[in-house]
């Protein structure tokens, strides 16, 4: 019985940490997307042309990573989404000319 309980707990834990949700975007997917967006922003020189927006995206991404590692998946998801939004803002500002 004890073995069964420990195996079930382990499985539940690993499922929740790797974010295998059915029909929903998982934290790991969102984190990947946030990382890609941040990379794209960096490639269009948003780190110099849109410093504020780029750093907002970066800070949200760092928080998303930290919270996910602490299994605070909801906050991790929300922070990753915010990071993606700010990356998009940074990209558009950088492409439109950015800081004078």
């Amino acid at each position: 019985m004890r073995k069964f309980l420990s195996i079930t707990t382990f499985l539940l834990f690993s499922i929740s940490s790797y974010g295998i949700d059915i029909g929903q975007t998982t934290v790991s997917e969102l984190l990947d997307e946030a990382r890609t967006s941040l990379k794209r922003a960096y490639e269009v020189h948003a780190d110099t042309k849109a410093k504020y927006e780029f750093n907002r995206a970066k800070s949200y991404f760092e928080i998303a990573q930290e919270q996910t590692s602490k299994l605070n998946l909801e906050v991790g998801k929300a922070a990753a989404l915010e990071s993606i939004e700010w990356s998009i803002k940074a990209i558009s500002k950088s492409i439109s000319g950015g800081r004078k």
Binding site: K51, Y52, S59, V75, A79, L81
Partner: protein, 286 residues
Amino acid sequence: MRHKIAILGTIIALSSASFGLNETAIIGQATKNPIKKEGNLSGSNLSIEERIKELEKNYGTECAPEELAYAKTYLEVAKGLKLAGKTVKVSKFERYKLLKYADLKLKLAEAKINSDLDKDGVPCYLEVIKGTDPYKPDIALKNESNKKENIKPSAKVLKEKKKASVKSSMPKPLKLQARVHFEFNKANIKKEYLPYLNVIVRYLKRHPELKIKIVGYTDSIGSKAYNDKLALKRAKSVKQYLVKRGISPDRIKIEGIGKDKYLFDNKTALNRFTNRRAEFFIMNVE
């Protein structure tokens, strides 16, 4: 065993209470005293949210974008983020930690606004007001624009240049950026201004024929008599530094103007900080 559990419980309760207290102390600073104390740019009496607003007003986005961005993010996460219509929150401990981080970032941002990022002698916020680039020295910008434009000078400009060359045989005024700003009700020189003063010392040593006058100013707060004294004290402290670095006291005259000749109005703390200053002038040439 029960005794041990009780002790453990008490420790946990006490620690969580202390976190709660600290947190409310940080968030609720504004409710206690929402008025910012004059001259204190670290804004210890303001809540983090108010300090961010103040920074945004005072060109924080231009002078310290990274620090401001991080502080704002920390604050937003501490307050709670929205996910699919509901608010998700971090733990009390995390919230306390995030607010501390935000506080640190804000302190850095506040320092950056007054600092000279491109080392051309003009503080960042003034460069933003002037419309110059705070990340490039003004001289470098001028050189760049000259190279780009490459316009031939007109006859009028040539005339002016001739006049200037005639004048150049006469003694030149002190063209260095020579201004020292002070904290509220203080006359001691801040560490960050010492490099600029050392430049002045070198300049004066290179030109032993020059005499200078240091004029102290204050902001609008306080009585006229007190401010006059304070202005003179500020000029005196700058003189003392120059003398200590080897400039003869006979070459330096001081004056305290006090509550007059403001650079900006005295409505904001930053403007008052700008007005509290000591300036250098060439007095006469022998």
